[in-house]
């Protein structure tokens, strides 16, 4: 492996960019491919498929054998709202292996005491997401019920293509949210990506159970995300 490529690979991974380290198993030559970099022919098709599936493996192309090591950014969850559900969700999501960030400008909610050991930011999502933008490997969970806080990150998540977007609220609340997001220029198909009412329908009856429902919903979105050719 080329030492320069090892540095480049680590730099790309630290910046949460999807990359493939491609090695020709015949002569040992290697390179790092970013998602979206043009790669021609059969190898290009295999590279595109590997970015979608996230699975590393050997491919035969152009009469040669290549190993594709796929590095997708680890999934993380951004929670808007430092509410009771978020307290349970932050703990459970970390146990399940997700990085979690909780954002809430209301300093009465966003306290160290309520979120010990959690990455908590007591600021407006508009400001936080400027410095720490959403990406396709992020799940956005909006649970404040307050349009002033929830709407901006929901709209940003739709534009970014977050792998999961969920919003808390009754059907009535969500109907008004749909109107506001439509007014912001989002199409019906796009808005339909929002999981609302949030979480899998498991009859969750309290904040901790709702957190289970949300986390299960996120895991399903992550593991069953549609691949090209699935017609989705």
């Amino acid at each position: 492996m080329d030492p320069y490529l090892l540095r480049k690979l680590n730099r790309e991974r630290a910046a949460r960019r999807a990359v493939i380290h491609l090695t020709d198993l015949g002569d040992g030559r290697d390179r790092v491919i970013r998602e979206g970099d043009p790669v021609a022919g059969d190898l290009g098709a295999a590279v595109a498929a590997a970015f979608r599936s996230g699975r590393s493996g050997i491919v035969a192309a152009e009469g040669r054998e290549f190993f594709l090591n796929v590095h997708l950014p680890p999934a993380r969850i951004v929670v808007i709202g430092a509410v009771h559900i978020s307290q349970a969700l932050a703990v459970m999501a970390r146990t399940a292996g997700f990085d979690v960030t909780v954002i809430d400008p209301r300093t009465a909610f966003a306290t160290e005491e309520r979120f010990a050991g959690v990455d908590l930011v007591a600021d407006w999502p508009e400001d936080v997401l400027k410095a720490r933008p959403l990406d396709a490997y992020t799940a956005l969970v909006a649970v404040t019920h307050d349009p002033k806080i929830d709407d901006f990150p929901l709209s940003a998540a739709l534009k970014t293509g977050c792998f999961y977007i969920g919003a808390l609220g009754s059907r009535k609340t969500h109907a008004r949210r749909v109107e506001r997001l439509t007014a912001l220029g989002h199409g019906a198909d796009e808005i339909a990506r929002i999981s609302a009412p949030i979480g899998l329908d498991i009859g969750a009856a309290n904040p901790a159970e709702i957190a289970v429902a949300i986390l299960a919903d996120i895991v399903r979105a992550l593991r069953r995300r549609p691949l090209a050719g699935d017609g989705a």
């Binding site: 492996m1 080329d2 030492p3 090892l6 540095r7 690979l9 680590n10 991974r13 090695t23 198993l25 040992g28 699975r55 590393s56 493996g57 050997i58 190993f67 090591n69 796929v70 590095h71 680890p74 292996g97 990085d99």
Partner: protein
């Protein structure tokens, strides 16, 4: 933080750190698995010239043999493809107790 984001545990981050310290290194990578292999394709083990290692390519079953080969690779710079399976099916003395088979690519860094 999971393994991929924690620099103390991530084999590629460790490899870069060891490289910066001037150590000679080999990188072993699981490139193919069959059956119930303990570590998926893409898993890394980094080895230095003194036999220090970090990461894993199996649940500890074949690391010893991989480290031995890595010493050779660090010496001559020639990458090698190793295959491990149940002990009686291959020429290797070591095997995977889980019954799976793996191919491990070992290359020098630099």
């Amino acid at each position: 933080m999971d393994e991929a984001t924690d620099d103390r545990l991530d084999p590629l981050a460790v490899a870069e750190r060891w490289m910066d310290e001037g150590r000679t290194l080999a990188l072993a990578t699981v490139v193919e698995t069959w059956g119930s292999a303990p570590r998926p394709a893409g898993s890394h083990l980094v080895i230095d010239g003194d036999g220090n290692f970090h990461g894993s390519v199996s649940g500890g079953c074949v690391e010893g043999a991989v480290i031995g080969e890595a010493m050779e690779v660090i010496g001559d710079g020639e990458p090698r493809m190793l295959e491990f399976g149940v002990a009686d099916e291959t020429a290797w003395r070591v095997g995977l107790s889980c019954g799976g088979r793996i191919r491990v690519y070992v290359e020098r860094i630099g």
